[in-house]
Amino acid sequence: MGKYSNLLSEEVKEQIEILHESGVFKANDPLPSERELAEQFDVNRQTIRTALKRLRNEHRIYTQHGKGNFVSPRKYCDDTSRFSSFTSGWEADGYTTYSRTLLMQVIEAPLAVSTMLDLSLGTEVYHLRRVRYIGDEPLSYETSYVPVKMCEGLDRFDFNHSSLYDTMEKVYGISLTTIDEKISITTLNDDERAELEADNDDLAFCFKSVTLSKDRVPVECCVAVVRADKMYLVSYMEA
């Protein structure tokens, strides 16, 4: 393990990050060539290459073959300290949201779903699958399950434009209080990749969540796959 050997590329990475953060480089601007960067920072090409690789790995830059490196647009920021639906959360931040429903059907709960919702195997649940957009960018691929007996007729609603949580609260009078979420690292499968129009990187956040009602009954569970090159999470802890 020994001595830390990559200080120089760490420094160069920091220098390029500064240009990025201070606005010298704007989203989708081309980066100077490796040779130019090597001259500018007075280091060898290999150091530049390592720094660029790390910036690419962290989604700060992207590469187009034959064209060079470009500055990535900033990632969207999702605030985890507050509980809100996709729709109201992002709209409060000034974005427009939209969903495209891929699927809305009644199925018999498979084991993974019945376990999360605390139902017996095979209980009828609504199975809603949507691609969620911010502006015109697909960000999240979400599959939700809601027990039919709790929200009879849920499939009448248009979830392209209205929020599932909102409908559950306002139409069905279920008050949602807690969301237990597990975040893991995943890669997109072919279907998710196509729907999310991901061509550069297939890294994604996987959120598995269970939403509980006031009396702590599970009322919805969801698996959301979100492009990691497009989003990060933020939280504020007060001591």
């Binding site: 949602l176 807690t178 969301i179 990060y232 802890m237 007060e238 001591a239």
Partner: protein, 239 residues
């Protein structure tokens, strides 16, 4: 089915049995499971077979052997990872694994544009740089890059960070933690991070940034961490 079970290798049957007990929380995360000798006696099988079963679960990262102590159930989920890394230490300790730090690099250097902005100091002001590898029972779990304004704590560069914690040092020096802004991303790591974390080149890991403000309003720490942990869980309450 029963025929199949009988034909299944005994070590696999034992491995499945242990896994099932973990799933049913008969063996809890962080808990030590019975010794090899005890398992031999209880199930009437050879030491070799027991060892093979445990080996297979260690390979699957379900169990961890701790030299001279025993075999422990891994905690696969980190509760409230967003509590930051100091709680990660606590989490490691609670899980029965032995936490340790390895200081990879320390330096005192000018803040430069990036850290001048973060700490609200001059570019020429000095910062203390501390790179640490966090381990649990000798296994790397996180690589941390910490920066602190150098004038904050006298002789900070002489402090023993292998055995002492930065937060203890803050408290001792009269700085109380006020606010911690945390961002979480998923990125890929390459050398040297991948080597230090003992993951493959280009492996996906969590990247966490912590910006810590003390109660007086001064930013006292900025840390970037790469965390080799597959999943994290947290809970949000509706307000």
């Amino acid at each position: 089915m029963s025929k199949l079970t009988k034909e299944k290798a005994i070590y696999l049957q034992l491995a499945e049995l242990i896994e099932e007990k973990i799933f049913k929380k008969q063996y809890r995360p962080g808990q030590m499971i019975p010794s090899e000798r005890e398992l031999c006696d209880v199930y009437g099988i050879s030491r070799m077979t027991v060892r093979k079963a445990i080996d297979s679960l260690v390979d699957k990262e379900i169990l961890t052997r701790v030299q001279g102590k025993g075999t422990f159930v891994n905690r696969t989920d980190m509760n409230s990872a967003m509590d930051g890394l100091e709680s990660m230490r606590a989490f490691i300790r609670e899980s029965g694994l032995l936490p340790s730090n390895k200081v990879i690099h320390t330096a005192v250097r000018p803040a430069g544009v990036k850290y001048a902005k973060i700490f609200g100091i001059d570019e020429d002001s000095l910062i203390f740089e501390l790179f640490r590898l966090r381990l649990a029972s000798g296994k790397p779990v996180a690589m941390e890059y910490t920066r602190v304004p150098y004038d904050l704590i006298e002789n900070i560069d002489k402090y023993d960070f292998e055995n002492g914690s930065l937060y203890e040092l803050f408290e001792k020096s009269g700085f109380h933690l006020g606010r911690d802004k945390q961002t979480l991303e998923i990125v890929r790591v390459t050398a040297p991070q991948s080597n230090l974390l003992d993951v493959e080149d280009n492996a996906a890991v969590f990247m966490l940034h912590n910006t810590v403000t003390e109660t007086g309003g001064r930013v006292i720490e900025h840390t970037r961490s790469y965390i080799a942990q597959r999943a994290m869980t947290f809970s949000t309450t509706l307000t």
